[in-house]
């Protein structure tokens, strides 16, 4: 009896909105875990880090002092931080090389009938090898006394030594080796999206292969190029394994994240390191926002 009354008072609209509200509640429940994860591990952590950058936590005294912008001032005066920033930027010089070579490789592989699968597999191997293994083997390839490079070419260069440039050259070479596979794969995917008709039409108009490359391929691949450049920059800004494992703390390879690790974890200077992390994070967030807007990631 009661049920019958209920259905009589429920209009179709009301019945639908009950459904919707229920669905909404379930939807919110379903996304609860990632939301909580975000709150704790991203928002709260980032917020605390921001707060911490204005303090000086002394672990020996177990005291926290609020010191306003002192950490930031120290950071900007600190030669170690400025050197780390400079190193980080300079190390990214291998990005354009890796991207260019990756593009050329992808174009080549597209034209190949046989063997492209094997070749692309070989080129992608470095990308799935752990950073630790990669840095270790290259560290010993570049070793001054018994490394392959010096032995084979008869050189006596102290690559992973105190010189400012040699260590960077070594890291550029390793960097291109590591990154080539990823850029190649992405360009291959991008090349697939270029309609054949464009090339056919250009051939008909008398354009050479080179001209077609410059005027069709490269412009139409610009979204991929943009994505590769931005991702490589964001990755490069956060590089740590190179400084720690390849260079074992050598001055010429110290990056920003290495500085944060040294000051924060090793020397327990949490406030100073948090200030550096905050500056780095702000920079990366801005670049990421630009990338996201350009590629319209949110349109899912």
């Amino acid at each position: 009896m009661k049920e019958k009354d209920k259905t009589k008072t429920l209009t179709p609209a009301k019945r639908k909105s009950n459904f919707t509200r229920h669905e909404e509640r379930v939807a919110n429940l379903f996304i609860l875990l990632p939301m909580i994860g975000f709150l704790i591990f991203t928002l709260a952590s980032f917020g605390f880090g921001f707060y911490q950058s204005f303090t000086n936590f002394n672990p020996v005294r177990q005291e926290t002092k609020w010191i306003w912008f002192e950490n930031y001032k120290t950071l900007l005066k600190d030669k170690n931080f400025k050197d780390a920033a400079l190193n980080t930027v300079l190390l990214m010089a291998s990005i354009p090389i890796g991207i260019t070579l990756g593009l050329l490789l992808a174009v080549y592989l597209k034209n190949l009938a046989k063997g492209s699968k094997l070749l692309s597999l070989l080129y992608y191997l470095p990308a799935i090898t752990s950073a630790v293994a990669v840095n270790i083997v290259w560290r010993y390839i570049f070793n001054a006394e018994f490394g392959f490079i010096n032995s084979f070419f008869g050189l006596k260069i102290d690559w992973i030594g105190v010189d400012f440039w040699f260590i960077k050259i070594a890291l550029w070479i390793k960097g291109v080796w590591s990154a080539l596979g990823v850029t190649m794969i992405l360009y291959l995917a991008g090349l697939n999206n270029i309609p054949l008709e464009y090339y056919e039409a250009a051939s008909v108009d008398g354009a050479s292969k080179w001209q077609q490359f410059i005027h069709i391929t490269i412009p139409l691949l610009s979204p991929t190029t943009f994505y590769l450049v931005v991702t490589a920059i964001i990755g490069g800004l956060q590089s740590f394994a190179e400084a720690q494992i390849f260079a074992n703390g050598q001055k010429g390879a110290r990056t920003i994240v290495w500085y944060i690790w040294e000051r924060g974890i090793y020397m327990s200077k949490y406030g100073l390191a948090s200030a550096a992390s905050f500056l780095l994070a702000t920079f990366i967030i801005i670049i990421t926002i630009i990338q996201f807007r350009r590629t319209k990631v949110l349109d899912v």
Binding site: R25, N28, L29, L32, M35, I36, L39, I40, L43, A44, S45, G47, F48, Y51, Q52, T55, F57, N58, P59, V60, R61, Q62, E63, T64, T74, K77, K79, N80, N143, A144, E145, D158, G161, V162, K251, I265, Y266, M267, S268, Y270
Partner: protein, 459 residues
């Protein structure tokens, strides 16, 4: 609906994460103001002893701890150790729950003594006990918190040992070179320090292909032996632009750049002086008493120690740095009595002092054992009789007319950044890119900034 729960939950978490850092020792819950000590029902106290060391040192310490427990059946000691490089970080990360007894190295002593978290041992040790060990080793662990002065005031740690770092040479190799080259110079004098000029000439005379005169040169030895220091007596003003200091650094650099008797920074990077000395690639090197075990067992050559060369400055005296580690007791330990008993046992016990020198671990800290047993080679034989010149270790900590020993630079700092960054930046001088004078002039203001920051913790 779920959203209404999220917000306060998040705020609570945020608050919790924030409040972690703003509490002092007393208000932290649970793991707060207590050390590890507890008393179990049978009346035995349990204390935690934390240190560092190689697998072998840890074994030796476990033996000592077992002997202590045998003599003190009402105390149970839980001993654990990490590797040396991670020790301080681990200790700092223990937050407010420190071990009952733990290693306190010289280079961190000031910060910890100043924090008030170390137990004041002044009333638990008698003057007679203190007199039985080297004066330098007990004075250095005194600290006056009200005037932030080292060397006076309450005693905050007991000395484990003193480690003078001395100039050692490969006697076998040196004699070989002298014979080969038909030189008229003899072995270096074991009692009278050479001047820098004499030392340079000596090294040049024994120069040979593939063998360096000296593997490296200790910075502090050159600085201290030229009547110079990094800072003034108050440690607030830099003194690295002082001519004596500059000359000391340049002297070291010139050993490679001018005389060619020392490896370049690159070469030192790929093989350190210690390794080079063991391989016979260098005649002179530096050693502490802790290296003796390796020198006895891993190599077969004869070696001995000689006084550190003294610089040309007025008032200069041959000075070597003396490192040290102490045993500290946590102020908040629940078993202060038991902890002090362990610390005193480890410090004053004569058997452990003997064990130290017999195992080639350290110079005995108990004066009587060092001056009577050790110097007279009691219980030593074969290779463990080396080095002959043990008296030099004793003279260095006692200070004689010609020989002196001084604490390491970082001992005098609250915050070691000044020295760490300085040593890190010096490379251009040693590779010849800059003269020492140029470098000091340019670096002085950074160094002063670091000293100012150091002072900001104390004043």
């Amino acid at each position: 609906m779920k959203k209404k729960i999220i917000a306060p939950f998040a705020l609570t978490l945020l608050f919790a994460l924030v409040s972690c850092g703003t509490t002092t020792t007393d208000s932290l819950p649970g793991g707060g103001s207590n050390g590890g000590g507890q008393t179990s029902q049978q009346g035995t106290s349990t204390i935690e002893f934390f240190g560092w060391g190689s697998a072998e040192e840890q074994e030796n310490f476990q033996t000592l701890v077992d002997a202590f427990m045998a003599e003190n059946p009402d105390v149970r000691v839980i001993y654990s150790a990490t590797d040396a490089s991670g020790y301080m970080t681990t200790l700092r990360n223990r937050g407010s729950s420190l071990p009952d007894v733990f290693y306190m190295p010289d280079y961190e002593f000031m910060a910890w003594a100043d924090s008030g978290r170390l137990y004041d041992m002044s009333n638990d040790v008698t003057q007679a006990e203190l007199d039985s060990v080297w004066k330098l080793s007990t004075d250095m662990y005194r600290y006056d918190r009200s005037t932030t002065t080292l060397g006076t005031g309450p005693l905050f740690a007991l000395p484990k040992d003193l480690g003078p770092y001395l100039l050692v040479y490969n006697k076998t190799l040196l004699q070989q070179i002298i014979t080969e080259k038909g030189l008229t110079i003899g072995l270096p004098d074991p009692h009278v320090p050479m001047t820098w000029a004499a030392f340079r000439n000596y090294l040049k005379a024994i120069k040979k292909d593939n063998v360096f005169g000296i593997g490296s040169y200790e910075m502090m030895h050159a600085i201290y032996s030229n009547n110079a220091d990094y800072w003034d007596a108050t440690v607030r003003q830099q003194r690295i632009t002082d001519p004596n200091f500059v000359n000391a650094i340049q002297f070291i650099a010139d050993l490679h750049l001018v005389d060619g008797v020392m490896p370049s920074p690159s070469q030192q990077n790929s093989m350190n002086a210690y390794q080079r000395f063991l391989n016979g690639g260098a005649v002179f090197a530096w050693m502490g008493a802790w290296d003796l075990k390796a020198f006895w067992n891993q190599v077969t050559f004869d070696f001995d120690v000689i006084p550190t060369p003294v610089g040309p400055a007025a008032g200069a005296k041959s000075t070597s740095w003396v490192g040290s580690v102490g045993y500290a007791v946590s102020k908040n330990s629940r078993q202060i009595g038991a902890a002090m008993r362990l610390a005193k046992y480890l410090t004053f016990n004569e058997e452990s002092a003997r064990l130290n020198y017999k195992l080639g671990q350290a110079m005995p800290n108990v004066k009587a054992i060092a001056e009577n047993d050790w110097v007279n080679n009691i219980g030593l034989e074969g290779r463990s009789l080396l080095p002959e010149n043990k008296q030099l270790f004793i003279d260095t900590v006692n200070q004689t007319e010609l020989i002196a020993g001084k604490n390491r630079s970082r001992y005098y700092l609250y915050d070691n950044t000044a020295i760490l960054d300085f040593e890190d930046s010096l490379e251009p001088v040693f590779s010849g890119a800059k003269t020492a004078q140029q470098f000091m002039r340019e670096y002085a203001s950074s160094f002063q900034d670091d000293l100012d920051e150091n002072a900001s913790y104390l004043y």
